[in-house]
């Protein structure tokens, strides 16, 4: 420890001591005795459970790479979430029978006992607002809204009968990504990095990129670490300007000085750790060191200017302008650099028909045009780099949309739109050991409810963990006296689409 750092720590200690008074002494003595008693109770409770999931947690190196339970097909995951919930009926779930019913009153049988977010009274049915064709050898139905994706249909496995029980964006997004509609659970990416660690020393294991002008409704909790140590939360990078705020050293601060100050802070933190043994302090130290290395590595990996022209042409990217396309290209770069889990959120898919932007025949079409080319390019680019087999790509929203046209509060909306719908929607997966060119699950003739091959968000999560090499029932973390897992008490690996 340098003399200088010693002085800093000494000063920090003196500061703390100055604030302590006689009252602190009495207060601490009382709570201290209580805490000691409680501590002995708690450690007593855990004497059988010491051999549990917390083995994974090495607090000095929380991101140290680990081997999964079994050999996983996928090494990383790119999850493309269309926040707001895209309409499956205009994209993948082709329902010609719904066209016949277009404009007719919705039968009472579909409304009885049901609750919708905005539909009131008796809405009209709304036929598909897009032309569908069967694509590729697999004959997957994809609408003209996604002409590019249609060309790679044979790489994709569709899940046509996903069901959720949340019809509001925030809770539904939380359920999709944390396994609970309420706040407080770790997200899939956090679980994945907790289980696998990070192979790249200079980059976080879990990166989040957002586009579309807004954050997802559920806020940052959808990439939070919940009760897992905070080092596992997603690191959000910006699409414009510095990828991480304040990643650059301020003017006048050189790299050596930065290093020296981080060393001093870490030494002070280490001294505090010796005193209190709180693993969060070690996580903090690791974060400071990671941040220092990230100052070099992140601007480098987040820079798409150096990509060749044909790549920009392929993804439709425009460097310097924040967009979903840029984020998709970044996702590919990050995965190439060994990042485990890249989570993309694109906002603006909530098509109620209250305005032009939210119309299934206008706004939705325009949204599709912003994602179609980049996603297609992503699949092809991963493929040519030999990475598609080990990268799981997931696309979806938080719920589906009704086969009825929304009538907000019983009145006709100015544009054609659909309300939130929990009973059937489409999610697709590709790469990462998923079957190519298949479809699982069916909805009824009008796409109202799932009739076979139903899957839940828990099943999707179980499948993602399975592809990474984890038994979702065994990837656990002890918290508040019991073991928690991503899929709570549910979840089934969707073996029907696993290659």
């Amino acid at each position: 420890m340098s003399k200088h750092n010693k002085r800093i720590i000494q000063e920090a200690n003196d500061q703390v001591l100055q604030q302590l008074t006689r009252r602190h002494f009495f207060k601490e003595s009382v709570t201290g005795v209580g805490a000691m008693a409680l501590g002995s109770f708690l450690s007593g409770c855990n004497w059988l459970g010491s051999k549990d999931g917390s083995d994974l947690l090495n607090s000095a190196h929380p991101l140290m790479p680990h081997a999964p339970h079994f050999v996983g097909k996928a090494k990383s995951v790119i999850y493309l979430h269309m926040a707001g919930a895209p309409s499956q009926l205009e994209l993948f779930d082709f329902k010609p029978a719904l066209q016949q019913l277009d404009g007719q009153d919705c039968p009472q049988s579909l409304l009885e006992g049901k609750k919708f977010a905005f539909i009131r009274g008796v809405p009209k049915m709304l036929g598909p607002q897009a032309a569908f064709k069967q694509r590729g050898n697999s004959g997957a139905w994809i609408s003209d809204n996604l002409p590019h994706l249609s060309t790679v249909a044979d790489e994709i496995s569709f899940l046509k009968a996903v069901q959720t029980d949340q019809f509001n964006h925030g809770p539904a997004q939380l359920l999709m990504h944390t396994g609970s509609a309420r706040l407080g659970r770790p997200s899939i990416g956090a679980w994945a990095t907790y289980g696998l660690g990070s192979e790249n020393d200079n980059l976080p294991g879990f990166v989040v990129l957002t586009s579309g002008g807004n954050f997802p409704d559920a806020g940052k909790s959808v990439w939070g670490s919940g009760f897992l140590p905070s080092v596992y939360q997603g690191v959000q990078c910006r699409g414009e300007g510095d990828p991480v705020l304040f990643v650059k050293d301020p003017a006048g601060m050189d790299r050596d000085l930065r290093k020296a100050s981080i060393d001093a802070i870490n030494e002070a933190n280490r001294a505090t750790y010796e005193e209190f043994k709180d693993p969060e302090i070690v996580a903090r130290i690791a974060q400071y060191e990671m941040a220092y290395r990230m100052q070099i590595s992140v601007p480098d990996v987040m820079n798409i200017n150096d990509e060749p022209a044909y790549i920009h042409e392929m993804y439709g990217t425009q460097p310097g302008k924040a967009s979903f396309a840029n984020n998709v290209l970044l996702a590919r770069k990050l995965v190439e650099k060994g990042v485990r889990y890249v989570q993309l959120f694109d906002w603006g898919w909530d098509t109620h028909g209250t305005d032009e932007r939210g119309a299934v025949d206008y706004g939705l079409v325009n949204k599709c045009r912003t994602i179609d080319k980049p996603i297609t390019a992503l699949l092809l680019d991963l493929k040519q780099r030999g990475l598609l087999d080990e990268t799981l790509v997931v696309w979806g929203g938080e719920f589906g949309r009704t086969p009825m046209q929304e009538n907000r509060d019983g009145k006709k909306n100015p544009f054609k739109g659909r309300d939130h719908h929990t009973e059937a929607y489409t999610i697709w997966m590709a790469g990462g050991g998923i079957k190519k060119g298949t479809s699982y699950g069916e909805t009824d003739e009008i796409g109202y409810s799932a009739i076979s091959g139903k899957v839940t968000p828990y099943d999707i999560q179980a499948t993602i963990l399975n592809q990474l090499g984890f038994d979702h029932e065994k990837l656990i973390y002890p918290f508040q006296g019991r073991s928690f897992r991503l899929t709570d008490v549910y979840g089934r690996v969707i073996n029907e689409i696993v290659a």
Binding site: H66, G72, D372, K373, A377, Q384, E496
Partner: protein
């Protein structure tokens, strides 16, 4: 109704049995204690202990008898358990008699006999509920939960419908609870007679009518339904398996028929070809060797990890290793020789953009067990590629963005197991790529260069016509 009541009472057996076990064992303890003069006073409590124990034993016998009538249990074990249980009740009554008579010399021996009877009866009871060998399961190497792997079917039309298709489904999903050792609902699915006989509720199959057959109804329910089989927590039948079961019932549950002798609706035909495909998929060699390998030297691994080499077992249950040099730009001699010390275990090696010397590339070629090698954007040259031709186990090779030429690739002898070869962003021209593709005919050669053409609509916005109000 009577049957329902008796079954209800019988269900109390598993709770009640613990009373005689505890009480009568305590009688044994008291018997031993009273032989010591210091504790002689406990003799006073012995008769009442025997009495309560005997009453509990008799109640257990009655409830046990009622429970056994449900017929869900293995007959021979059940008989042993039943008569030994009755023996416990009788012996405990005798014990009571002699303890009241204060004939300690006799009641002492009775207590010992009772102790032995209790343990054996208890053990047989345990076998009935938990299955054969439940007690020593933790010690046995082969856990009964190990995955059942059905024999791959290469020619589905020649396969036997029952033996090759239906029976494996039952074996994997049903017989844990419906076979000789445990017959829940009085149903056995491990024998033809059992399947035809059905269970407690009568026949489970209505020949020719899958929808009316209980077995098909029960496996087709919503998995959350209480009546769904296999029950919650067990793996349900897949859609394909249900389809086969349905088809088998529709076509008259043939036990010895071949698949080709039966009518095949389109959906079944598709499923049958899928079966064959799965079989051929299983034949494709996995990139993990079948042979077991010793654990690698732990201290070597730790040493390498300190140098930012990501070295990991490919999974927690394997000793094979993967190495990822993503954090390094080059390899010094020491690190390289440490890595090559792992050559027995090392099967996956990833070195994106690595810059290696001539000798280092030579050394890489000694890693004989490598099945996956990623050296995209590395400094490998034609000459050095020839060294790698010695890697006979290679199945995956990523040469994206390297400076290799087609000549070098065409010269290679070896790589007989190569399945995936990635050549995008090399300087190869189309005609060379075609030559390479024809040389590696069994390999999926990806030459990249994919384009996503820009459509006019890609950058246009659709707008609603403006309507004046």
């Amino acid at each position: 109704m009577l049957f329902v009541v008796t079954e209800f009472i019988g269900n109390f057996h598993p709770v009640l049995v613990h009373l005689p076990i505890g009480i009568l064992l305590f009688a044994l303890v008291l018997e031993v204690l009273q032989t010591n003069t210091k504790y002689q006073s406990v003799a006073f409590a012995i008769p009442i202990t025997y009495l309560t124990g005997a009453i509990a034993a008799i109640l257990s016998c009655i409830t046990g008898w009622l429970l056994s009538n449900t017929g869900e249990y293995n007959e021979s074990t059940l008989n042993l358990h039943r008569w030994m249980g009755i023996a416990v009740a009788i012996v405990s009554v005798i014990g009571y008699y002699f303890s009241v008579k204060k004939q300690a010399s006799i009641s002492k021996y009775i207590a010992v006999v009772l102790g032995i009877l209790l343990f054996t009866t208890g053990h047989f009871g345990g076998t009935l509920t938990h299955g054969d060998g439940y007690l020593t399961k933790a010690f046995s190497a082969t856990n009964s939960d190990t995955l059942f792997v059905p024999k791959p079917i290469t020619n589905a039309q020649e396969a036997l419908i029952y033996k090759d298709i239906i029976q494996p489904i039952f074996t994997e999903k049903c017989i844990k609870c419906h076979s000789g050792s445990k017959q829940k609902g009085n149903l056995r699915l491990d024998t033809e007679e059992g399947i035809l006989k059905g269970g407690k509720g009568g026949a489970i199959i209505s020949v020719g009518h899958a929808e009316k057959s209980e077995i098909f109804q029960r496996v087709s329910l919503d998995p959350l339904n209480e009546k769904h089989m296999p029950p919650k927590g067990k793996t349900a039948l897949t859609e394909q398996e249900r389809l086969f079961l349905q088809w088998w019932i529709q076509t008259g549950i043939g036990f010895s028929k071949k698949v080709k002798e039966l009518d095949q609706p389109n959906s079944v035909k598709l499923a049958l070809t899928a079966l064959e495909k799965n079989a051929s998929a299983a034949i494709i060699p996995s990139n993990i060797p079948n042979e077991l390998v010793d654990k690698a030297n732990e201290s070597l691994l730790i040493d390498l990890q300190k140098k930012a080499v990501v070295v990991l077992p490919i999974a927690q249950n394997s000793n094979y290793l993967s190495v990822n040099l993503i954090n390094l730009k080059t390899l010094d001699e020491k690190t390289l020789s440490q890595i090559s010390d792992l050559k027995k275990q090392l099967i996956w090696l990833k070195m994106p953009a690595i810059q290696l010397s001539e000798t280092a590339w030579q050394k890489i070629s000694t890693l004989q067990n490598l099945t996956k090698l990623s050296i995209e954007h590395s400094n490998i040259t034609d000459k050095q590629l020839q060294y790698l031709s010695e890697l006979n186990q290679l199945q995956y090779l990523n040469l994206v963005g390297t400076a290799i030429s087609s000549k070098a690739l065409l010269q290679i002898n070896g790589w007989k197991k190569m399945r995936q070869l990635y050549l995008a962003s090399t300087h190869l021209v189309t005609s060379e790529l075609i030559a390479i593709q024809s040389k590696y005919s069994k390999t999926e050669v990806d030459t990249g260069g994919y384009r996503v053409a820009t459509l006019v609509t890609d950058t246009q916005l659709v707008k609603a016509p403006i309507i004046k109000k």
